[in-house]
């Protein structure tokens, strides 16, 4: 595993991280897109897709509204994909159980992304104050410059979060993965599907629809019966 894998991951952490808040917000930062893209560039597309599938729904219900900052699922997705490559190259562990371990280690570290994002936004406070002075002086070019330099804070936040996830994740997985991989394999599909089911429950709990539980229940039972009768 060469330095190019880390450089690629770093570039993606910055570019896709900007999509979360600073630029475009086109959803390329969602785990289901970010992880497969990372996996494709690192030569492990299947692992990337699996990381994205496990993680997509978990924090989807947390809306980026006002001052609310959700955990950084973009960097968790990118970092977990690089961790999957690391496990493969260092310990020869691959497949869904290895991917599950990487995601399990990366998810709690997503909380660090919240802290980094908050720091970036706090750093932008000073840009807003400087812009007030520039506006009073009629300096519109300075306002533009101050505004664009805010992207630097968000880029740094994404990069630092991804670095932390990869560094701490590698340190944890190197001794723990060989011990836990057998137990993860033993759980079969239960652990794998539990991520999606928890994500679905979180979404169901946060989507504010009056007859949501009824709709979900009917759709669930009807589909299950159709598949059973098939």
């Amino acid at each position: 595993m060469g330095i190019s894998a880390y450089l690629t991951t770093g570039a993606l952490a910055v570019l896709l991280g900007l999509d979360r808040t600073a630029f475009l917000q086109s959803m390329v930062s969602r785990p289901l897109v970010a992880a497969p893209l990372t996996g494709w560039l690192l030569g492990i597309p299947q692992a990337g897709l699996e990381v994205g599938m496990l993680q997509e729904l978990l924090w989807l219900g947390q809306l980026p509204v006002g001052t609310v900052i959700p955990p950084d699922d973009t960097q968790v997705a990118i970092g977990a994909t690089l961790l999957a490559l690391t496990l493969d190259r260092l310990l020869g562990l691959h497949g869904m159980p290895a991917v599950i371990l990487c995601v399990l280690v990366a998810i709690p570290l997503g909380q660090f992304g919240r802290y980094a994002d908050r720091r970036a936004r706090q750093a932008n406070n000073s840009l807003a104050r400087q812009a007030e002075v520039a506006a009073a002086a009629g300096d519109s070019r300075q306002i533009e410059w101050l505004h664009l330099s805010g992207t630097g804070h968000f880029a740094l936040s994404g990069l630092v979060t991804c670095t932390a996830i990869v560094a701490v994740g590698t340190l944890l997985l190197y001794p723990l993965a060989p011990l836990l991989i057998g137990a993860v394999r033993e759980t079969g599909l239960s652990l794998q599907y539990s991520f999606t089911l928890i994500g679905a429950a979180m979404l169901l709990g946060t989507l504010n629809v009056s007859r949501g539980l009824l709709l979900f229940g009917v759709a669930f039972v009807a589909t299950l019966l159709v598949l059973w009768l098939r």
Binding site: V33, A183, L189, L207, F220
Partner: protein, 251 residues
């Protein structure tokens, strides 16, 4: 001074700049600099290379709305500024219009894009991924970004061309109703997805598919916990520890 209308090229620049609205998002003034940044090409066209300090100060104050609806506000304000400069008294001051609409536009945008369309696109993407369709992420991106880009670009143009009437246009679109329908569609698709996973799990364990019904109360219980503020991280930890513990005991 009678200003010439803002040319299309300048409008196009303003539209492009709307994608950077939140580049300097901050806790004190939120999207203020991004909003001013989007207006600046138009303001330079109206006021010359250096817009007066009072105009800049007017649009660097507090501003916060849904990022996809900010162009609707900015387009209208540009037209109001144009009217003011031409001597025709605008029906409302630009800064007052900004304060008046940013909260309702934010409510519409948050409910429609973050609360409804984003979950729907994600669940559709996940549903296709589970079927093994490799293009699922692309489908998800298209599903979200066609309405997203239409909202940003058309909103900016409608705001400029229709000025205050753009708010009526927005009202006629009945977007809050659309948000509710999209949320209901998401929930139905979520039910289908969970049932499919339950059946697959049963088949893997060589159990009758009807055993999958056991998962329904479990998901509903977790949904109840989510409503009471239990985080997904806590649920993942509890579930993982339980499943791994059982696996280690049975090994």
């Amino acid at each position: 001074m009678t200003p010439s209308p803002v040319p299309w090229l300048v409008l196009l620049r303003g539209c492009g700049r709307s994608f950077l609205l939140q580049a300097s998002w901050n806790f004190e003034r939120m999207q203020n600099l991004g909003f001013c940044y989007q207006l600046l090409p138009g303001l330079r066209r109206l006021y010359g290379a250096t817009p007066p300090a009072e105009v800049l100060q007017r649009y660097t104050g507090y501003f916060n709305t849904h990022p996809f609806f900010a162009p609707w506000v900015a387009g209208t304000i540009l037209r109001l500024e144009e009217q003011r400069l031409s001597g025709a008294a605008p029906p409302i001051d630009g800064a007052d219009f900004q304060k008046m609409v940013m909260a309702p536009y934010a409510a519409i945008g948050d409910a429609l894009f973050w609360g409804a369309l984003r979950p729907l696109a994600a669940v559709v993407g996940l549903f296709l991924s589970v079927q093994g369709i490799i293009w699922a992420p692309l489908v998800m991106l298209i599903l979200f970004n066609v309405p997203h880009l239409l909202c940003r670009c058309c909103g900016w143009l409608l705001g400029y061309l229709q000025e205050l009437r753009s708010a009526e246009t927005l009202q006629r679109l009945r977007l809050p109703d659309a948000a509710v329908w999209l949320k209901e569609g998401t929930i139905i698709l979520l039910g289908v997805l969970c049932a499919m996973l339950a059946v697959r799990g049963c088949e893997h364990q060589e159990l009758d598919a009807l055993w999958g019904l056991v998962l329904l109360p479990v998901v509903l219980l977790f949904a109840g916990l989510a409503r009471r503020g239990v985080t997904s991280l806590a649920m993942v930890v509890i579930t993982t520890v339980s499943l791994l513990g059982l696996a280690l005991v049975s090994q």
